[in-house]
Amino acid sequence: MELYEYGVCELASLLKKGEVSSSQITRALLDRIETRDKDVGAFLYVDREGALKAADEADKARKDGRDEPLLGVPIAVKDNICTKGTKTTCASKMLEDFVPPYDATVVKRLKQAGAVIVGKTNMDEFAMGSSTENSAFKKTANPWDYGKVPGGSSGGSAACVAASEVPAALGSDTGGSIRQPASFCGAVGLKPTYGRISRYGLVAFASSLDQIGPFARNVQDVALLMNVMAGPDELDSTSAPGKEIYDLNSVKSGVRGLKIGLPKEYFGEGVSAEVKDTVYGAVKKLEKLGAVVEQTSLPYSGYALAAYYIISSAEASSNLARYDGIRYGHRAEKFDDLTDLYARSRSEGFGKEVKRRIMLGTYVLSAGYYDAYYKKALEVRTLIKNDFDRAFEKYDVLISPTSPTVAFGFGEKSDPLEMYLADILTVPVNIAGLPAVSVPCGLAGGLPVGLQIIGRPFDEKTLFKGADAVLQTAGKLRPEVR
């Protein structure tokens, strides 16, 4: 087995035993990236020098007797998560040259745990999109089929993990941006409970919905990364108090007695038959393993997508207003006056989809429209939360497909509304602030199908058990073995 094929826990264990050095692993992965990423295009920036240096330091630290959980393990980071001294562009011309003078809290914690940051991954500009086609810089291909998109917005992170360029990567999920690309690329992707992980250093898209989470190729790796990253942060007042350490062995403790609800609205008309069948097939297997499965209903689901696009765009229009060409970021070369400077810098710096959302968000917050749109969307948010609360009185988890379809082709969804529909099964989770994981459960037409498990707030632990069971029953799903 090649070094790049190992997962996080496996590598950590090899390092601990002294069977391999971090430098060896990092070199192997950098080589892998060099050959494989030409086709995949997952990385916006590979920090070869920085990674090798960090690996070297990790090896020295190990000799000094240190044993942090990720000491020497390489990992990739989505390019909207700040890395001190390394460009953080959000795949936007606006921040093409932006180098943050600070690490995001998650990056700080990863580094403290000994992780080696190998580079920054491609994404939809400012995390707005579902295919990574909105990157201002490059195209990322699906490792299973280069003619298909990797999903988005964390397409780069999903693709590099699926292509075995790194064992794990960080993404961010505002309406499905971790789970949907995980589903398209056949990776495990967790969107933790809102507040579980500090958002400090995550360039904001929609503050009340954004959450950082990990991608990996198995569930234990996801749990280990959560152990390192989760927990309260005094730099983020929306981070939740209390920290849970997940027992990596209990991840494999099975689903016997687990009460599973299948919300019928999530298996409706828009969902392709092959995706439905694959997910139902996986659920059947869980049932055989002792889970109790029932159909249920989340009646307000139909309003989630509309509410999501109003709330997320409203917050985005405000969050992205700071990119005005005054202090950092793109500034137009020629301008007449202050207003013109703003208008030109922002027209030139932002891509089409970002502008669309800013305009939408500005509109729904405007005097005379606020009550009809934004306020109503907040009311819907409450109703959707109530839906979930009721369901969780009866069920431990809810299961659905992650995406209505498997990965689609480049340029296939040219109508923005059609693209928005790709998020229909993932956005309710963000609206309710719940944890959810996407785990590959089989193939349809040769492409991975993601199964979404939604849990109670702060009950990631149960999601891990369910996800691991699904992954075990699905068998090994790697692009190489296709």
């Binding site: 959000c90 943050p100 009340s208």
Partner: protein, 480 residues
């Protein structure tokens, strides 16, 4: 037609917390541009604001001192607009759920005590400052002030004259100073005032069209601008013209207001709840804890001065209206005792000198110890009281000790009997007519002789002794 003004005020005061509202940067005034900043107050991508609990406490304390109801549940909101001094392009403020609501302050008008209602007092962040370099044709931004906590206090339109507005501001300022919520230094921008005014025929209950006034850099400017605007609007309405709803700028140099922007140009701030900051929940226990920390307020101090120090009500009112001045006064009384004597200095020389040299009470160049020592020189007859006032002026200008001034300028009082007697004998010799007048029964003539003796000693003679010695010598002549 007789008109009356309807005036409301919007006051912004910087809170005296050590650190900014959402980060650990200092709130200190001044400093090299952009040295009191960090990624958070600069709003760099990915940073998040974390609310400084002290700023909430200060706001609640101000609210309690202004007789407000404190909201148990409150939240921060975003006010969106583009301007280079606003690094996030939104100001974090409070919109529909301010921390403090429905309060009042009492002012003393000639017609008696009047309550001025307060609609709300809320917490928000300050913006930076633009520095225009006309010679270079460019502008610079200093973000040191960005994120300094502010309280915004909005009054009801309860004031009817510019004088009432002035009284309200003075009272508000003294309350904020007493609670040490703000130092209220207008010249440093830690207190800023906007006002709105409309006019209506006296007796009318309806409001006229209101005009907002900006660029008011002192209480005097507020007063003058309101006076000007009252006249402008009254004249216009008197002529049958309509008042435009607009914002006008006070031009201090010209003494007029100039239109700035009309209602149509007004911003749509697109307020919405700040998702980065969790709502503020205030418990009764917390409110009580803060209430206990409220120091003595101006009206309480005034009552105490009258009750315990036997100070005249008027003196007590003037002195306690100004916190630094009342502190100065109390320190003097603490050392010296005899409040009335100290009050005479404060009400007389100190207030006059402050006004003449445009010095704030916080910056009085004389220490209480120095003033008391000056009074002791008077008590010990080293100098006369009138000489004392001259020494005071010199102290105020130079900051020197009274003893040093008396010595340097040779001002110490002549109380030596022999010296004085020699001077008086000379005066008597030189003024036979006055002596004759006195002998002839003109008692008043003695005043002239005393005056001459004082003049001869350039005011340094002990006036009491001169008086006595002149009588003595004249009586001697009489007997002979």
């Amino acid at each position: 037609m007789d008109f009356e003004a309807v005036i409301g005020l919007e006051v912004h005061a910087e809170l005296l917390t050590k650190s900014k509202i959402f980060c650990g940067c200092t709130t200190e005034f001044g400093g090299q541009p952009n040295t009191h900043c960090c990624p958070v107050c600069l709003g760099l991508p990915g940073t998040l604001p974390v609310l400084n609990r002290r700023t909430v406490e200060y706001t609640i304390m101000a609210g309690l001192a202004l007789n407000c109801t404190i909201s148990k549940f409150s939240k921060m909101d975003r006010k969106n607009y583009f301007y280079p001094d606003l690094p996030k392009a939104y100001q974090i403020s409070q919109y529909d759920l301010p921390l403090c609501r429905e309060g009042y302050v009492e002012i003393e008008t000639e017609q008696g005590i009047k309550k001025i209602g307060i609609i709300r007092a809320h917490l928000e962040e300050d913006a930076g400052k633009l520095i225009h370099e006309e010679s270079e044709g460019s502008s610079f931004v200093d973000y040191n002030r960005t994120g300094v906590p502010l309280i915004e206090i909005v009054s009801y339109p309860d004031m009817r004259t510019p004088e009432e507005a002035r009284l309200y501001l003075t009272k508000l300022k003294s309350i904020l100073e007493y609670t040490e919520v703000s130092d209220c230094k207008m010249q440093e921008g830690s207190l800023r005032v906007d006002t709105n005014i409309s006019v209506r025929p006296k007796g009318s209950e309806e409001f006229g069209t209101k005009v907002e006034l900006k660029n008011l850099s002192s209480f005097r400017a507020v007063y003058k601008a309101l006076e000007y605007e009252f006249k402008r609007q009254s004249d216009a309405v008197g002529r049958g013209e309509k008042i435009a709803q607009e914002t006008r700028r006070w031009d201090e140099a010209k003494g007029i207001t100039i239109p700035m922007r009309s209602k149509e140009e007004a911003h749509d701030y697109r307020y919405f709840p700040e998702p980065d900051i969790v709502p503020i929940e205030v418990t009764d226990e917390w409110i009580e804890e803060i209430r206990k920390k409220i120091p003595e307020l101006p009206h309480q101090k005034k009552e105490r001065f009258v009750r315990d120090m036997d100070l005249p009500v008027y003196d007590a009112g003037v002195i306690t209206a100004d916190k630094a001045l009342s502190d100065f006064f109390e320190r003097c009384v603490g050392i010296y005792g005899n409040p009335k004597t100290i009050s005479n200095w404060v009400m007389g020389e100190i207030l006059r000198s402050m006004k003449e040299s445009e010095i704030d009470s916080a910056d009085i160049p004389i220490s209480p110890e120095q003033l008391v020592r000056l009074q002791k020189l008077v008590d010990d007859s080293v100098i006369s009281i009138s000489m004392g006032k001259k020494v005071f002026d010199s102290m105020f200008k130079t900051g020197k000790d009274p003893e040093v001034i008396v010595k340097e300028e040779g001002l110490s009082q002549i109380s030596d009997e022999d010296t004085l007697r020699a001077v008086i004998l000379k005066v008597i010799d030189n003024n036979p007519k006055s002596v004759a007048d006195y002998m002839g029964g003109k008692e008043k003539a003695i005043g002239f002789l005393v005056g001459q003796a004082m003049k001869e000693t350039r005011g340094k003679a002990n006036p009491q002794m001169v008086n006595e010695l002149v009588r003595e010598e004249l009586n001697k002549i009489n007997k002979n």
